[in-house]
């Protein structure tokens, strides 16, 4: 136990970051479930983060109400970008959401309420292990249920064949927007929690790089079930820490792993076949 405690003491922030990464990955995953590729989730998370931070720091709202508010605001924003999603496909949608992200970043950089480039500082440290992993567990249960539900099947149907989905009587537009809404909510929660153990939130949270990272979590983890994105988020957060030994080559290795995983395990590192294959080789 004490060993565990020590381990946590030494890595708590890393562990928390991993949890948030998993949440963010899930928020991309839910749109992917419905065949929608979004690069706007970093911005959504930032929106959530700023909202919650302002509430807890300046208005002394307790954590959970603030997180809920954050989720609500982010959801609203997500729906706002989800509507155009109905007209855009694939890469076009990705680029539109990317543009949205840049708008958010630029706004955060210039608005008074977001504290400009410095962002918001001295955010009360309200989020710890239980908050983050509680939320993650909640999300996991959410997806466990979602994937085994009528709605989840509708998502999957749209993702695989939109025309056939319509022929089954599925209201495609309705479910696409729903997917974006859920993504917004999750991202909002993730952003809010992150802000409350990092003590500060900056416009960089909405940057293109962040968006790409989040997408990468999901893809590297694998998008066939919700386990993949979570695994990907955790792994890719711990990775740089693990590679700390090879300081300079870190980015280089990140890149190499991205390519390797995408090329050699198309269904992500969570792909069960991969593991069967490994055991077979033992």
């Amino acid at each position: 136990m004490s060993a565990l405690a020590a381990l946590y003491a030494g890595y708590s922030s890393l562990i928390l970051l991993a949890g948030v990464a998993a949440l963010l990955a899930l928020s991309v995953y839910v749109t992917l479930m419905a065949g929608q590729l979004s690069l706007g989730n970093a911005a959504l998370a930032a929106i959530g983060g700023y909202t919650a931070a302002i509430l807890t720091r300046d208005h002394h709202v307790p954590l959970w109400p603030a997180v809920l508010a954050a989720a609500a605001v982010a959801t609203a924003a997500a729906v706002a970008i989800g509507i155009p999603a109905l007209r855009l496909r694939g890469i076009y949608l990705a680029l539109a959401t990317l543009a949205f992200g840049e708008v958010v970043r630029a706004a955060a950089l210039n608005l008074k309420i977001t504290g400009g480039a410095l962002g918001l500082i001295n955010i009360p440290p309200l989020a710890g292990f239980w908050q983050v992993y509680g939320a993650l567990a909640g999300a996991a249960l959410f997806f466990y249920r979602l994937e085994r539900s009528r709605v989840g099947r509708a998502f999957a149907a749209i993702r695989e064949d939109e025309a056939a989905a319509r022929a089954m009587g599925i209201k495609v537009t309705h479910y696409k927007v729903l997917a974006f809404a859920i993504a917004g909510g999750l991202a909002g929660v993730a952003g809010a929690l992150a802000a409350h153990f990092a003590y500060v939130i900056t416009p960089a949270q909405a940057s293109f790089t962040e968006a790409v990272n989040i997408l990468t979590f999901a893809v590297v983890g694998g998008t066939s079930t919700f386990v993949g994105p979570m695994a990907g988020g955790v792994l890719l957060t711990v990775l740089p820490e693990a590679l700390r030994g090879l300081r300079e080559e870190r980015l280089l290795l990140d890149g190499a792993i991205l390519m390797a995983v995408t090329i050699y395990c198309p269904n992500g590192i969570s792909d069960p076949r991969l593991w069967r294959w490994r055991r077979a080789r033992r």
């Binding site: 539900s149 149907a157 056939a164």
Partner: protein, 497 residues
């Protein structure tokens, strides 16, 4: 049940449907037949809300549903299957069917999250029903197999089960028997009857396999070039000369001078097996094309004609068997290499490059060549196809169907091939163009290039060719001198059952 009133649908210049009226009576099985490109699937798409009609109305159970979105049409009680199977390939078979129940279930996201009784009830009931439906179509035991991994025929049946799950009153089946072997087709016929008799469904089905059409349909309607040319009982339709023409093609005004092609073998295919996904489409096909010869390959849709050509030109890897061009074994080589060796393949549906100009299409056809005579050949083809010369600067997409077919053939010739393969060159063309196409084919052969011709217009194909092969569900059923096959009953059967 369903009333289609003076329905028209145009795509640009193409009149896919022109003033078609059709009534489907309660509880009947109506067959909708006609050559490829006749507008059958377009009619399905308009009825099910995937296309808006250019003119006309659709009524279902007295209610006007013209222009409704597909999901609403489904909810109202019309279900369909697709000609090119559109299953959710990654999902297990049973899941596919459960998705079909979407419109008949109510559980919301919240129900699912809270795991409410509604949700649990619907889930369990849904699975039960799905299993039942799978059993009904004969897929018991396949519940957990991913749809994409099922054999071709099973996939067709699964699509039916999925459609049934929406609890329709009217079921639209688009070529349900395509790619099925005789036994499977029999089973399918039984199934369709059962759907009507025990489930009380009304069925409208598109099918090329006449055994099935003549076997199960109460009445048959025939489309050709977007118009309804006949409607009535099986017997009436079978005897209707217009129908026979539409299928076997009209006799040519003048018989083509068929020089006896008995030169040495240019293309030899031996015991070829090939297919997509799990199942084979070709079960050991052997044929050969000789110098100076026009060989034709005829057979019903889904028999594997195009698959054979695709395998020869390298788009599809042969699983077993030999393909030789002259002495060179080309089986499994990359398409561009095979073209380089002298096989030009004019694919079904022409596949001209719409965004390139006519001339660019032709030049692209000469890509594999390195010699100096390209310009000369361009000029020569210009002589042969004046239309193309006039239009050489405009985007190929702007050509009419017939002109596009000419371009596709000319493009094939630009490669100076040792063998020209044509896939359904007369498909969907107006009669005068059909004549033109066959003239061109003769011209090619006269020019010393042997031709392998895949045609649905059996009559004309056999009249033009020296040697004929009849392909039936992946096997060569008969072969022989084209003249002889013309009279052969087997051919009739292959088409009209």
């Amino acid at each position: 049940m369903l009333a289609v009133e003076r329905l028209s649908r145009h795509f640009g210049g193409l009149r896919a449907l022109e003033d078609v009226s059709l009534a489907v009576r309660d509880g009947e099985i109506l067959g909708l037949i006609g050559p490829n490109g006749a507008g059958k699937t377009t009619l399905f798409n308009v009825v099910t809300g995937f296309l808006r009609p250019t003119a006309g109305r659709v009524r279902f159970r007295g209610e006007e549903i013209t222009g409704w979105p597909a999901e609403r049409v489904t909810a109202r009680g019309i279900a369909r299957t697709f000609q090119n199977i559109r299953l959710f390939r990654e999902m297990p078979a049973v899941e596919n069917v459960v998705v079909g129940e979407h419109v008949r279930t109510r559980a919301t996201l919240l129900d699912a999250l809270a795991h409410t009784r509604t949700h649990r009830a619907e889930e369990s009931a849904g699975r039960e029903r799905a299993r039942a439906l799978l059993a009904l179509v004969g897929l018991a035991g396949r519940e957990t197999t991913p749809a994409g991994a099922l054999a071709y025929g099973d996939q067709r049946r699964l699509e039916i089960a999925r459609a049934l799950a929406t609890r329709p009153a009217l079921l639209l089946l688009d070529e349900p028997a395509a790619g099925m072997n005789a036994a499977e087709t029999e089973a399918l016929m039984a199934l369709i009857r059962r759907l009507r008799d025990s489930l009380g469904l009304t069925v409208l089905l598109i099918e090329h396999d006449m055994r099935l059409v003549m076997g199960v349909c109460d009445r048959v309607a025939v489309l050709n070039f977007g118009r309804k040319i006949a409607e009535g009982s099986r017997e009436e339709v079978r005897r209707d000369p217009a129908v026979i023409d539409a299928y076997l093609g009209r006799r040519a005004e003048r018989r083509a001078p068929a020089a006896q092609g008995a030169g040495d073998v240019v293309l030899a295919v031996e015991d070829l097996r090939a297919g997509y996904g799990r199942g084979d489409v070709l079960h050991g096909v052997s044929l050969e094309v000789r110098a100076g010869q026009i060989a034709t390959l005829i057979g019903a849709n889904g028999a594997g004609k195009s698959t054979l050509l695709r395998t020869i030109s390298g788009l599809l890897r042969p699983r077993t068997g030999q393909i030789r061009l002259g002495q060179v074994a080309i089986g499994g080589a990359a398409p561009d290499r095979i073209v380089g060796l002298g096989v030009a393949h004019v694919p079904e549906g022409r596949q001209i490059l719409a965004r390139l100009t006519v001339e660019e299409n032709l030049r692209a056809g000469a890509y594999a060549r390195r010699d100096r005579n390209i310009e000369h050949d361009l000029a020569a083809l210009g002589e042969r196809f004046p239309v193309l010369r006039e239009r050489r600067a405009q985007p190929a997409g702007t050509l009419s169907g017939g002109e596009q077919q000419m371009l596709a053939i000319a493009r094939g010739l630009m490669a100076r091939p040792r063998l020209l393969m044509l896939d359904e060159p007369s498909l969907g063309l107006a009669p005068q163009f059909v004549d033109r196409v066959f003239e061109v084919v003769l011209g090619v052969q006269a020019g010393g290039v042997p031709v392998l011709l895949v045609e649905q217009n059996a009559q004309r194909a056999l009249e033009t060719a020296h040697w004929g092969y009849v392909l039936e569900s992946g096997r060569i059923a008969t072969q022989g001198a084209a003249m002889r096959l013309l009279g052969d009953a087997a051919v009739q059967r292959a088409y009209l059952g």
